[in-house]
Symmetry: C3
Subunit: 408 residues, 3 copies
Amino acid sequence: MSSNYRNFRNSVPWLIFFLEAVFILLFCFLYSDDGVSGSNISYPAFQDVSHMVIFGLGFFLAFLKRYKFSSTGFNLLLIVLGVQWSVLMEGLLFFLFQNEKEDDLKSITKATVSMTTVVISSAAVLGKANPIQLIVMTIVEIAAFHLSRWINKMYLKIGDSVGMMHVHLFGAYFGLAVSPFFSEPSPNSEKNASTPESDLLSMLGTLFLWVFWPSFNSVLAVEEEKNTIIYNTYFALAVSAVTAFALSVLTTKDGKLRMKHIHSATLAGGVTVGYAAHSIWYPSIAMILGLLASVITVLGSHHLQRCLNSVLKIHDASGVHFTFGLPGVLGAIAHVILFVVKNWTDLQSQRYLIMTEIGTFCLTISVALISGFITGCILNLKLLKTIPVSKYCEDQFYWEFPHLAVGF
Amino acid sequence: MSSNYRNFRNSVPWLIFFLEAVFILLFCFLYSDDGVSGSNISYPAFQDVSHMVIFGLGFFLAFLKRYKFSSTGFNLLLIVLGVQWSVLMEGLLFFLFQNEKEDDLKSITKATVSMTTVVISSAAVLGKANPIQLIVMTIVEIAAFHLSRWINKMYLKIGDSVGMMHVHLFGAYFGLAVSPFFSEPSPNSEKNASTPESDLLSMLGTLFLWVFWPSFNSVLAVEEEKNTIIYNTYFALAVSAVTAFALSVLTTKDGKLRMKHIHSATLAGGVTVGYAAHSIWYPSIAMILGLLASVITVLGSHHLQRCLNSVLKIHDASGVHFTFGLPGVLGAIAHVILFVVKNWTDLQSQRYLIMTEIGTFCLTISVALISGFITGCILNLKLLKTIPVSKYCEDQFYWEFPHLAVGF
Amino acid sequence: MSSNYRNFRNSVPWLIFFLEAVFILLFCFLYSDDGVSGSNISYPAFQDVSHMVIFGLGFFLAFLKRYKFSSTGFNLLLIVLGVQWSVLMEGLLFFLFQNEKEDDLKSITKATVSMTTVVISSAAVLGKANPIQLIVMTIVEIAAFHLSRWINKMYLKIGDSVGMMHVHLFGAYFGLAVSPFFSEPSPNSEKNASTPESDLLSMLGTLFLWVFWPSFNSVLAVEEEKNTIIYNTYFALAVSAVTAFALSVLTTKDGKLRMKHIHSATLAGGVTVGYAAHSIWYPSIAMILGLLASVITVLGSHHLQRCLNSVLKIHDASGVHFTFGLPGVLGAIAHVILFVVKNWTDLQSQRYLIMTEIGTFCLTISVALISGFITGCILNLKLLKTIPVSKYCEDQFYWEFPHLAVGF
């Protein structure tokens, strides 16, 4: 064990310093203060998204009894590294293809939204991946996500703000493809459990995410669509929160509420309307989508998780498949159906566009699964020091606990 | 007990599904995307109010030792249900009376502000009402509040943004009228107590409310008055927070501070200047009002609570009478006095307006008390499954606790 | 001890009431609603700063095991008192020198930013100063800070938004000058320790500060510079957070992460670019500054703290020297160097300006040290009832704990 510590000590800082040196050098070449000071992103909206990702998701994932420091701490580490990398990727794509250059605030906002994929994927292996693996995963995943977005944009002509909303889908399926490469913790280990206190911390994060979700969905949209997106997202979230309570009572033994259902199902509505929100013309459609999303999440967490787990050996540590994956798929399907209904009279001529819509989300999922599988192989390399199962979900493996002497 | 569980299981989800079905249907008829995208509510201000109500009030009420899940969880449930219902009520009133139609964001904002009444009333019976009762209360109370606002608007010509600020008054007196219908918990039950941890959670919520209160008071005001309202609310809050510390030391044994005083008295100033803020022309007046509000809250919690409790059999679980009720009354009186002082030279001709001012707040309190009393009768029906006193303030009655085995 | 309680009881409320009475009277004379309703400060940005100071700093300092109530509570008390005092000081300076009058929102924003100095200084004596001492310190420090800003503005022609960014420097060195006047707690007292729970609360505050720091640095800047400042601050913060993780692993035994490093070093970048942010023309420069700030903070907390402590008898309770002081000095030096590099070709004629730049930050530190020393002497007066070392860091000395009976 002590050698493992030493290994950890030897690798993490140098990996971080190496990446930072590369980032700073690349920033030197790619960016300068070119006097563009205006931005079509409002600063408060960017702030909301930043808050969601850094604070909301950090505490949302702090539900494991002994992994609260790591949940919030590593979340911060990944995001601050990933945002720099994502801004650079955008800059490189601009440099190579001479796209229209974006202003500063927009590039950080897009990078922050992109980082949601990484946080979702890291949630799928929560407690199992060490920081070196998480950092490598961040680097690969952001590159793969940019690739997927770039293909969508170049060949399928998908707008940037719509393509960005694939983050949930991409993150969830990337994470699911990575997770089988980690051995499964013993199912009756008490370390996988939550305490009332940690569940409350997670509730704190959930409420933050809930409140700021309309900002997340609308931040990259054009000005005219913003209010529609905010309105539809709000109602989808409201209905999925309400439904979560009802379904939780129906599905548990004794008819009690389960905190985990509330955490994941309240947010499902926001994920689902993610990229359809601007095209929903009745709020009641958003409400029905929110209801369906919540149903999928709660039922999924009951029935599908067990099947998947036994058949595909996927151990989805925080239920990202049901919280982000399936609601994302539902949203994509809803988007296509809404498009078909809207153009019902002129369906023949729109066939190509419908195909594109279907193609774009299949493509996102495929790229996510393939790149996730490759990343999983890389993360399993001896070089990256996979941690033993006995050290899963254990803050003490990574953090100093001087307080331990006085009773943790 | 197990039959009680089963009852709970049988009723809550179906009540929720029924309401959601009705809401979605009504939304179908009443709302469509009519292309109105502009709004005179700023989105960040709406976000602040939403954050206050969902997050701030949720954690503000999480001070009971064993009722933290329910405080935050049921708060979310009530608000997401109530906001939909409140938006619908506005839509119905528009439909029936052909008022000027409001934009989407404004209608959610007004609904969120209205929901404060329900949260305040539910705080008066915190730990005593079960979710079915709370949901029924939400439905009735929002309808009664809209009725009260509508009468104020139609017959007394009170502007909407002023009428909205009656939320604290309405919520507090509605809650007080409901509370005698619940039997009182045994006074030395340890479940009514807080722990240092839960007090700190409540402090977290309080600080959120404190910071966002100027947004709450100004969100519905016209643009020109916003800065004045923000300024006055800020100073009223500041002085009431300062005074809370001084009075807490003076009134407790040994001259120590009591966390409960800080929680409620720091906010009293914001409640008091609620609907007078736009008409206060010196910040020092707002400061004096903040000071008086804090005095009322702290002294009230000491002396009045005991009298009321013994005489009227009102058991005010979270002290809403002193936190929201009396400061609201003080604000209403201050509003009238300020009006009189301002029009001193021409008092005769303004007599009608002064009467209106007095009438409007008497009316609000009367409607609140009467509808609260009726609601209390309804909530006591056998159908709604009043919970036994022994199960008051007990998360375990509603929530699964798989962690219990390892020591809650 | 009981006499001590009684003393405390006798003094605090009357001191508070006296101050409030003075404040309200002065407000009466100095302020009125003059119909100026526009403001060049955006309300959401002010809200961010208010949130940072009230909530973020309150919880940032809640890391002591038994001092969480006092950390958050006294922080609120000091800020609400200090903001009023600071607004009055600005008003008095305006009254005396007939400067340009500022709008309401700007004056509260400036006062809130100024209060950061007091919070930083109070952090240096966290757990050691009683409320009376803290209140006196607030009054003196705000006056001294305004004096220092006023000299900088009058004689060195330093712009207001730049002068305001001296808050970190001023606060840190004022606090350090005050701290030797308090006797040192016994080093192996367990009350100075943190628990995992309190460390997490502090992380909560830290993440808030991290997210809102770009608002803090940009709130008083002119519109054209805002985006540059936000961009540079964001990257400086990101790099310093990344570096904090790497350095923490390198410097601790066993190569584990130390939560304290993460708390302070992640923020160091934001402090450093505080007043240079508008003049940084490449983001990579901000990134390098963020890296250096993080290095200084982590190494400082290891090596310098021990020296300072033994040589100068300074016991820096929360490490403000390394979190705010040294990064501030680094920022000041960087500002001068950047200025020299920018005007390299025409250095001769700019010599006066360079001298001014150096002069201004020397002046700030000098005023801070001198006024801090004087304040330290005042705080040591018998009248202010210094608390015994055995009562340091003890919530129970100030707050009621009715829950103690059921096991704190």
